[in-house]
């Protein structure tokens, strides 16, 4: 139409790259999960007879190196939270090993260790929760919330706790002046930071974050993701990052494990997984994500059917009823967990022969707004 005064600049200033992977990693395996299973018993009736099992985690194996981020993705009910809770031993696994390398360099099996031996380990593994609203006690001040793990672990001096909480609040970019306020006085993103500060209070090695940004708006989500990346680089943290949003996962992870009905379908380095997925489920998942660009519209074909029931999983490959590539063998034989190229693990009979579409990712593709 007619003259416009100033079209605002739309270019984004170049962002400093995060520390490259090799610098962050020490090469040490921090966590080694082997053949993990967690079956929940289904009871029925007056006598509470066992009538079946929910195979929430059904033969899961993966390793996490010190300093890296492994993302666990998958649809609702696929067993992400159950896997995390087993690792933190919030629940007892049905079988399998969870080998954790402690600060002193010893390797312990978290799956079978006694409660007494577990105590000192808890400090080294911490959890960040999804819901910044319900995971904080509304009757406690921020000082008490962040300071509680310190108190429990022997920091008896109040002065010392205040100093430490102040430092932690600064670390997560909260104003220390607000330490005597209650959670309701903070926004969702700020509450999530309180949860992060609390998790970091005891210098953990492993941080398990279960959907830490899922409840947040995009702008707050971006701030929180930046903070988590920065904390990892400065404190050398190792993350197990649980999420269902593939954009978030792509952004934060080094390696990605895709779960389907209690099993890991595929595990690979981030770029390999997004660019050339080997499991039909991963490819379908990538194709389902709505891309924030109307010009890419109509390229997706919805995956038919519904997620299988973990109490009565299909025969053979759990994915076969929905898989476009299923052959007779898929219906009868359970595919093995195989490494098909260095670091690329897949559970699919046809992984070696199929070429599946991935996502064109490039470090030069800038966000749509530019």
């Amino acid at each position: 139409m007619s003259t416009i005064v100033t079209p605002p600049p739309t270019a984004v200033p170049p962002q400093p790259p995060a520390a490259p992977l090799r610098e962050r990693l020490t090469g040490q395996i921090l966590l080694d999960v082997k053949d993990l299973k967690k079956y929940f018993v289904i009871h029925r009736g007056f006598l509470r007879r066992t009538t079946g099992y929910v195979r929430a985690v059904d033969d899961v194996s993966f390793q996490i190196q010190e300093g890296e981020t492994l993302a666990l993705v998958g649809e609702t009910g696929c067993g992400k939270t159950t896997t995390s809770r087993c690792i933190l031993r919030a629940i007892d696994p049905t079988s399998g090993q969870i080998l954790f390398r402690t600060e002193s360099g010893k390797t312990v099996d978290v799956a079978t260790i006694s409660k007494r031996e577990l105590r000192p380990l808890r400090r080294q593994m911490q959890m960040i929760f999804q819901d910044p609203y319900s995971s904080l006690n509304p009757r406690m001040t921020v000082l008490d919330i962040i300071g509680e793990p310190l108190l429990v672990n022997g920091v008896k001096s109040r002065r010392e706790r205040i100093d430490r909480v102040e430092e932690l609040m600064r670390l997560v970019r909260l104003r220390p002046e607000y330490m005597r306020r209650f959670p309701h006085a903070f926004s969702g993103g700020q509450r999530q930071r309180i949860g992060i500060a609390r998790a970091l209070a005891l210098h953990p090695k492993l941080v398990v974050a279960d959907e830490p940004v899922s409840a947040l708006d995009v702008s707050v989500q971006a701030q929180t993701l930046n903070l988590l990346l920065e904390l990892q680089n400065t404190l050398g943290l190792t993350y197990l990052f649980v999420a269902h949003n593939l954009g978030v996962v792509k952004h934060i992870s080094d390696r990605v494990a895709v779960m389907y009905v209690g099993q890991i379908a595929e595990l690979a380095e981030r770029e390999a997984l997004f660019r050339s997925p080997k499991h039909p489920y991963t490819a379908a998942l990538l194709a389902s994500v709505p891309k924030p660009d109307p010009r890419l519209r109509g390229q997706r074909k919805p995956l038919p059917g519904e997620v299988a029931n973990p109490a009565a999983p299909p025969t053979g490959c759990y994915f076969h009823p929905r898989c476009a590539f299923a052959v007779e063998r898929c219906k009868v034989e359970r595919p093995a967990w195989e490494q098909i190229s260095p670091g690329h693990w897949v559970r699919c009979h046809r992984a070696r022969e199929l070429t599946l579409p991935g996502i064109e990712t490039s470090s030069t593709v800038a966000p749509a707004a530019n």
Binding site: P8, P16, A18, Q190, F274, K291, P294, P367
Partner: protein, 348 residues
Amino acid sequence: MALLSVRDLRTYFVADEGTTRAVDGATFDLYAGKTLGIVGETGCGKSVTARSILRIVERPGRIVSGEILLQRDGGYIDLAKLDPDGREIRRVRGGEIGLVFQEPMTSFSPVHTVGDQVIEAIQLHRRLDKARARARAIELFRMVGISRPEGRLDEYSWQLSGGLRQRAMIAMALAAEPRLLIADEPTTALDVTTQAQILELLRDLQRKTHMAIMLITHDLGVIAEMADDVVVMYLGRVVEHGPVDQIFHAPKHPYTQALLRSIPGIQHEARVKLPTISGSIPHPFARPAGCPFHPRCALVMACAAAPDGVCCDHHEPELITVEEGHSVSCHLYRKKGAAVPLALESAR
């Protein structure tokens, strides 16, 4: 001709602690066969806008001004003027306008089967006996892609999976063949694969029935996939409105630009710092003067610096048309020499 025109709608919640201007001057049109996407972060007034159209705003919320013009028989009726409990609006609600909520769990009663509830919705708007209404319900269930529709009718909502429940909810919303479907976060609680199925379903239904869709979501990916036109809201105001391609490829408002940049996409470079919007959404009682976005805006113009004395922290910008069908509420786009409207001048 627009099917529904919302004109300068204002819906406020007045309480002793303060007034929340949940919707504060929203203007947009909906057209048959087209999808209008409404985006914005939590609390910006998306749901209250939808509830205002259907006249189901909870107390102490109230439409304080504006028009909601629904086209009917070649003319318009103003829904904002109707008695919210009257017969007329009930004909519109669930009749001419169907509604799909975010949480289908709360939309169905757990004590009746979904079939009974859909049949009731059908009979409310069409004179059909029980058997015919049931046949129609089966037809609707089939249309929304529910397999074994006869069996599903006799199940309870809590027996259905999230995806099936959402489909049943859509079937119920379609019971009276609405001309407009308002879908408030219809896929937010669902997995991506289920979301893709539901969005495909909505598109398909629109192709068949030519209904208008007002799609509310904060997921910009869903908007890019579905919308023809987009309204971006911030603190109860429409800050930008335009064709979907323009909004994504040539966004005008600094808020829209910042919002798009902050999405971690699967196509973008990993593990770099995401551009963020500074500050946080203000408390609804402490709404900034002038442009509501100015405290967070990277391009804010203070009075001293503003060329014609119009500044972001004092004067509230109006919606300015920058191109056919694309408007933006931001002083950066004020035409040279345009006079400051009197009402704004006096607010100084």
